[in-house]
Amino acid sequence: MPLVARDLSFSYRDAPRSILQGLSLDLAPGRVLAVCGAARSGRSTLLSLLAGLLAPSSGSIQVDGADVRTVGVRSHVGLLLQNADEGLFGLTVREDVMFAPRQIDLDPARASTLVDNALRAVHLDPATFAERSPFSLSGGQRRRAAMAGVLAMQPRYLLLDEPFAGLDPVGRHEIIAVVRDLATQRFGEHTGILVALSDLDHALQLADALVILHGGRAAWQGSTGAFLAEAPDVGRWNLSEPASIGVVRQLRERGWALDVERASPAALAEAIVSYLHHCRARHA
């Protein structure tokens, strides 16, 4: 049931340079995939393509074997754009989240339940937030409200474009919590989540797998664990070395062999402690 992109290429009609070339990726339900790249690496274009809003120049994007651009299929993929404010259409949060159900003329009772569920899924209590104006909310809350609006389409896949932009650590952690919840349980099923990020640190802490975009191609693809194990030089992709990789690399240079699956401080601490035990056991 995954979302599958094969040999994706894209360039704008009057631009000679291609934005994406021969890109392939898989997004499975319940997994979190991060697409990382420097500015203008094609991240946002990729998301519009995967959501069926843009037609690729060549290649295919399919959900369950059906092309994502067919109308019935498109609603399986939800896209949250970078500027959440540009996606808030209602005078109240409820009205905004109702936008998608209204497009398909869903009956009011079902729509209302859907709205409440979507709000709960993004950790916004309907009783507190539903009747407020979206613009009276904090930056992080607005982004989550916009996410609820997309979830009201009941998509199986959720694409987030730079969801942490402009948020302080508290706001960021709120979104991370929502993403984790959605991956493990979306109204009873698992949602496949793809996050476009320029900050590798955030990507490594959030995702199970990683695609690095450079020059319109996938310069690196694989699991987060594999990335941490390899600790590649990201400077050649115009990215900044994430602090987690920095720690791993610095220790490796001093002869430590760390085995890390995730890039969170806790996971790294665990790996360090277990390595120290391992060393002591050997020396004993």
Binding site: Y12, R13, D14, A15, S48, A51, L53, V71, R74, S75, G78, L79, L80, L81, N83, D85, E86, G87, L88, F89, G90, L91, F99, A100, R102, Q103, I104, D105, P134, F135, G149, V150, A152, M153
Partner: protein
């Protein structure tokens, strides 16, 4: 820019270049355009139109603005005009030149169409010559230079100048923002080609909150930024690119006036 658009709107837009036309001061081009337009409106005899057409042709040649560009900008307007004009002309009584089924094209009618058509063309062409060869900010400053005497009538010319400059700066931003908002709507399942009229109308209205909120916020942020940079409404200001008049500018005005006189006298 990614939007290599072929829309009519961009056909009139400033195209940077280094022709003699580009190098003329904005104020000169504004004056020349005004003179040309005045002449073509006042010309008593169609023969005068040849003179003004020659002036426009010289302008195009100097500015290296080809007929294709002008066609892209005005083509549909001209066609629309022709059709509308012929229909109107058919209703004016007079000596019939020829008939097209129930429509009779008369001599006075034809005169009217030709006259109005040429006038419109000249107005459009001179405007295009000016806007294509002059940077928007220079154009704004030029227009406002002419408005300075209005200061005595308490018209806030300097403030208008700043507002025009800001408007020009923000235009591309508003265009792109609208595109992104439309994309966001499509991402939420809005189909612009299907759906009931009610739904589509509702979607159009739904564009307002993000547009308005975005622009209100932007206006507030901009006001703060301007204040931080010592902007005081009503205070005297200077302008970086105030423009300089040279020999070519005087020459251009003289040429324009000459042709204008010809137009009116022929």
């Amino acid at each position: 820019m990614i939007n290599g658009s072929t829309s009519r709107f961009t056909a009139l837009q400033y195209r940077p270049g280094d022709t003699a036309l580009h190098r003329l001061d904005a104020r000169t081009k504004i004056l020349a355009s005004a003179v040309a337009i005045g002449a073509v409106l006042a010309a008593p005899h169609p023969l005068g139109y040849l003179a003004i057409a020659a002036l426009v042709a010289i302008g195009c040649a100097v500015g290296r603005i080809g007929p294709r560009l002008l066609w892209r900008a005005f083509g549909p307007i001209i066609l629309l005009f022709l059709v509308g004009g012929l229909l109107t002309a058919a209703f004016i009584p007079g000596r019939i030149l020829y008939s097209l089924g129930p429509l009779h094209v008369t001599r006075p009618g034809m005169d009217l169409v030709v006259r109005a058509g040429v006038q419109t063309l000249v107005i459009l062409a001179t405007t295009a010559l000016t806007t294509i060869s002059t940077a928007p900010s220079a154009l704004g400053n030029g227009l406002l230079w002419y408005m300075h005497p209005l200061r005595r009538l308490r018209v806030p010319v300097d403030e208008i100048a700043v507002m025009v400059s800001i408007g020009l700066a923000f235009l591309p931003l508003l265009q792109r923002e609208l595109q992104r908002i439309l994309l966001a709507q499509r991402a939420r399942g809005a189909e612009f080609t299907r759906g009931s009229l009610e739904t589509r109308a509702r979607n159009a209205v739904a564009l307002l909150p993000p547009l308005l909120a975005g622009n209100l916020r932007r206006a507030e942020e901009l006001a703060v930024a301007m204040e931080a940079r010592e902007y005081v409404p009503g205070a005297t200001r200077t302008v970086l690119n105030a423009g300089q008049l040279g020999r070519n500018d005087v020459l251009a005005v003289i040429v324009a006036v000459l042709f204008a006189v010809l137009t009116v006298r022929l």
